[in-house]
Amino acid sequence: MINLVWLIPLFPLIGFLINGLGRNILPKSVVGFIGSLTILLSFGVSLGIFFELNASEIKSFTIPLFDWISAGTILVPFSFLVDPLSTLMLLIVTGIGFLIHVYSTGYMHHDAGFNKFFSYLNLFIFFMLLLVLGSNYVIMFIGWEGVGLCSYLLIGFWFTNISYASAAKKAFVMNRIGDLGFLIAIFLLFSTFGSVEFSRIFPQAAQMASGDNMLILITALLFVGAIGKSAQLPLFTWLPDAMAGPTPVSALIHAATMVTAGIYMIARSNILFTLAPQTLSAVAFIGIATAIVAALIALTQTDIKKVLAYSTVSQLGYMFLGLGVGAYTGAFFHVITHAFFKALLFLGAGSVIHAMSNEQDMRNMGGLKSKLSVTFLTMMIGTIAIAGLPPFSGFFSKDEILAHVYEHNKLLWIVGVGGAMLTAFYMFRMMFLTFYGNFRGTPEQKHHLHESPGSMTIPLIILAVLSAIGGFIGLPEVLGGTHWLANFLSPVFAVSTSKSVGLTLDHSTEFLLMGISVAGALAAAIFAYFKYVKRSHVPVPDSVPRPALLNLSYNKFYFDEVYRAAFTRPLDALSGFFFKVIDKLGIDGLVNGFGSGATEASKGFRLLQSGNTGFYIFMMVAGVVALFVYGFYKI
């Protein structure tokens, strides 16, 4: 089965080709079927590989396909790596991918670009699988940029809206900034280790001293790549804008899979990062800063998808925080649980938007609980999970990260718990504004309200179940579990584990930490309940001025405006300067100067040709005399 791993990305590729080439001929039902089926097939193969790997003694297989690039000492094979980390990621991508494909058949049913949408979605899965499966950094980079492309295509799916198209461009460009870092890191890896294959780099790196300058540089550049892809400070502003895409896209790409690629990459390179503690501190710092900043912005957003987007950024920040303190398993655990509940929340939001006839502003919602009962219930499970309340999945993963953070740095832990409280608050705020109180939309919307079709609610229910029980794959010892996930992933993180101190907290401290964070989250949820249900508070319309702090949060701390002033405008000005002054005046001026210089000189010299015969004769005589003088005196 493991040798058939190449089938996994092949199925979506075939799906993409069929749907893409046949987009004008095939009916929607066929396209939807092919699109979903290919992913299901990939999921099936992934599942087979998972069970085989679980039973196998050897935990890492490299499957070579062909030599992709070779030049001199550079050799880049096209090959796949199957190990516990990639297998789990495969399951997430294909599993959740399949659910979202099914959901999309319902959600996108009325859209004219249905066929195009499915071909893009299949292409995305193909690239994401390449990213996950690549056995070296260059293949990973193919997937890395490829998912960026699909993200571009899908954010700009409704491209006639120019602001959507701009959001797509912004996402691509910001990703590319990170990609440059990744690319240079690849070059450094080539020159340091003579290869980009994971299986050649990691054993060599394990021999190197901790804090080696080259390792710090490499990991820092890899992290730059991760910052771009996983929307961390300072490159996070594209992700909220990316909500311009259709909601299934937000769920699949901008919540569950693509944006976690950065975490996947760092977890994959854990040996390098463990040996570069300085970079790890930076990872932790940027992670927590992003988590807090995004959470603060999410507090005041009124667009349901924007709240979820900032929440995603914030949760990604937690994952980086986990990586930064060396809790690779914990961070990856959070990737898994986050994929469940955030996909669920986005799809739920999509269901709400679907029911509300494309209304996204929560100020125009309210009281949807009775009309959309399935959506409400499943979303509530997702909200409880993300808020970190036991026994739902988010509690276990977040708690594992926070326990490691506590061990690492108490101050970071306090900030982290503060962020968790903010999370609980804005998530419940979103739920209460949307589902409780009175309906605030137009009568037409009210008339049109309906629960979504089965193709949409079934994925919601499956995801809700997963969000509820998914945490038990990593049930910690303190709660009587064995932490299956940590055991399964242990071969991947073995070297890192041996080079760092494990978790040494005693059980009572762990219980205490859990207690504090759960209490905090509960308090925040109750506060939100009082504010938005009991007092029926509704955020003010845009025309009403807000207090300064709220305004700052509502306007996203003016990041976009600052970037525009700091980068876009100066570069455009520089462009004009280069073109008009240096190119046109400077270089062209010089070149044309030669031409006009010759013309001017000729204008001067032609005056000698006066046409006056006497003058000519005089010049002739003068010339003869001059020749004589020259001949006699040799001057």
Binding site: N612, T613, I617
Partner: protein, 109 residues
């Protein structure tokens, strides 16, 4: 013949050189300062003849006839030149009703 040659050789060579230099200079100045095409033309002839004089003088002085052969060449050439040159001047006069060379300033730029 002997006596003629001897008689001629009796005149010092410097006198011939001086005379022909004077005639040549008159010719040059005539070409430079006069504006009448015919006079310029005549001045050119004057220069030619100054050279002829010099050639014959040296021919006699060295008792070598080849110098006089050159003179005949030059005279033949001058005759041809006169024929062409006068024809041009006649044409100029027909066209401009003048022999002033300053009228002929079309040949420029």
């Amino acid at each position: 013949m002997e006596t003629v040659t001897q008689a001629l050789q009796g005149v010092p060579l410097n006198h011939y050189i001086l005379l022909s230099a004077i005639i040549f200079t008159i010719g040059v100045i005539g070409v430079l300062i006069r504006r009448n095409a015919i006079i310029i033309f005549m001045s050119v002839e004057l220069m030619l003849n100054a050279v002829n004089l010099l050639l014959t003088a040296f021919s006699v002085h060295h008792n070598d006839a080849s110098g006089q052969v050159f003179v005949f060449f030059i005279m033949a050439l001058a005759a041809a030149e006169v024929a062409v040159g006068l024809a041009i001047i006649v044409m100029i006069f027909r066209n401009t009703s003048s022999t002033d060379i300053n009228v002929l300033n079309k040949l420029k730029w």
